[in-house]
Point group: C2
Chain length 337, copies 2
């Protein structure tokens, strides 16, 4: 699929979805739209991802594309009206538009009409299916080994770790797939359910449904975790994934140096050992599992401090640990597969 990615005024620092798609998706990215950086290249800003020109808007994209992806997720999930002209242009060219906003493009009158007229599709990946139901507690019946990333907080590298591990497993010759649970993962993989938007009674069931859908055709499933089991706001999502996935193994993801819940700074994070005990203890009555590896984001640390932090983290989780981006995933893959 040939795509353009909208990331106005946010690329690369605040465009997590755009970066995820550039780094992990199979799509051919023809252009990134960012009016602030127009004229530069993706490669001028970020290493290790596919390169593409950055342009001011859809009218500057000459090549034909299949889809425009909204690659930014503003707080609150609203649609920024300054993006409207780009979406309109894409739809007028018959492209699909893919978004993970709380504001559903498919419910916007103008967009719906243009999509209808020109044969494009509006795909709101943050809309869960309407026929979800309760979990049957049967995710463990699939043939695949299920590996779930869990975190000490939001934004500790669960999605990145999931993608890196699945890639590494595939490169090692295994038939591995990602089970995406968040908007960026869904955009990268082209399927999935936004678990944080499901009705709480069906949260575990939605995860189970995805695992059963693909689990008998694969050797390994890497399930993208969300939130943290002790997050004041989001733990329900995390708990539903933990019990719905019935994982064989867990990978604990943490950011080096973080000591309080992000955005909830009055809540100190407990010790890493406590997280391990809580995840394993809470999972056990539904499915015995263990933290078999740790992934530490050390991007803010210099080399020596990073090595020390990783060693300390490995001791705390009592399992092999690494920074998947800085060091690669060899050691983790060996512990997991």
């Amino acid at each position: 699929m040939r795509v353009a990615i909208l990331a106005h005024e946010k690329f690369p620092g605040d465009a997590k979805t755009a970066l995820g798609v550039l780094r992990y998706a199979d799509h051919d990215v023809v252009a990134v739209l960012d009016r602030d950086s127009a004229g530069t290249q993706v490669g001028d800003h970020v290493a290790d991802v596919q390169d593409a020109p950055i342009v001011s808007g859809m009218s500057a994209v000459d090549a034909s594309i299949d889809a425009l992806i909204i690659g930014v997720a503003p707080i609150g999930g609203g649609f920024d009206e300054s993006w409207r002209a780009d979406v309109v242009t894409a739809l007028e060219r018959g492209c699909d538009v893919i978004a993970g906003l709380h504001y559903f493009l498919s419910e916007d009158e103008e967009f719906a009409r243009l999509a209808e007229e020109h044969g494009g599709e509006l795909r709101d990946v943050r809309k869960p299916p309407e026929d979800l139901t309760v979990s049957q507690g049967r995710a463990d019946e699939v043939d695949a080994e299920v590996i779930l990333t869990v975190g000490t907080d939001c934004n500790t590298g669960k999605m990145t770790t999931t993608m890196e591990l699945a890639r590494a497993a595939a490169e090692a010759g295994h038939d591995a797939a990602v089970v995406p649970t968040g908007q960026t993962g869904i955009m990268i993989e082209g399927w999935g359910i936004p678990i944080d938007r499901t009705i709480s009674d069906f949260t575990a069931g939605a995860v189970e449904r995805m695992i059963r859908e693909v689990g008998d055709d694969r050797e390994y499933l890497f399930v993208e975790g969300q939130g943290s089991i002790v997050h004041p706001a989001y733990s329900a999502v995390t708990c539903g994934i933990l019990h719905g996935a019935m994982p064989d193994k867990l990978v604990l993801c943490h950011e080096a140096g973080r000591e309080a819940i992000h955005g909830y700074e009055s809540f100190e994070m407990p010790a890493i050992e406590t997280y391990v005990d809580l995840y394993e203890g809470l999972a056990a009555p539904v499915r015995e599992t263990e933290v078999a590896a740790g992934a530490l984001n050390t991007s803010e640390y210099p080399e020596t401090a990073a090595a020390d932090a990783i060693a300390e983290f490995g001791d705390a989780v009592d399992a092999p640990a690494a920074d998947p981006i800085r060091q690669g995933t060899d050691e983790l893959v060996e512990a997991l597969l």
Copy 2:
């Protein structure tokens, strides 16, 4: 409020909502509709609740009423077409109709039209508010002491225990309120949010919102728990309530003799001590709390076996324990207030 309660073919055994309203609500129940038991009295079937005639349908209810309550909750939450005539009659008389079904009466064309025409209101209590948002982690700022019932499984007496404790606290002269989280509790109390229908990202936030709404005007809040923290399907709901409520104290509710998760019999329940550790350990990073009392449903046990089971349960929770229905709540109230 003067009400009739629809419970066709299910009263009393399978009409949990009808029984809850008869037992705990302030409403004056004018009649129960059950075509199978028409001609008998509520008192012929159940002790300890307000008495009322059982009639065949709304056409047999002569007295004027304010509302018809749907007092049964069929599996799947559908609307049984055999109830339509009763709902129509109630609406034609200008009554409100209150239901906790997944099928929303307010979206039924005929009911909506009749409600409009005759000035009645269709209240679907299983519909959460549309403006829910994420928790801020601030439920602990209210003046009230917050006491949450938690369970080893679904249907272990959390709603009943919550109601009995709140009543006992009020009788002891305290200003106590119930925070209802399920359909029966909401029907009894006349307000509340059906937590199992909230989007998982907002589950904790919905509980926090209720607590902050009433918590500064009360001395004690008794929060109705749901599910179990190790339920294969519903743990997300439980976890969201635990972290959203930020309770000062927990009451663990269990049914004597139950050893496997109801409806999920391949899942053995862990030891009571494990539940205590999990609830306390999981709550602690958000809010330190403790299981301060245990409530055991011994309705299936003869007297001596019940006493033994309660003593054993008290040892396991390491706190005062009682069967609130068989023994009353004096001992529990003393431990909690």
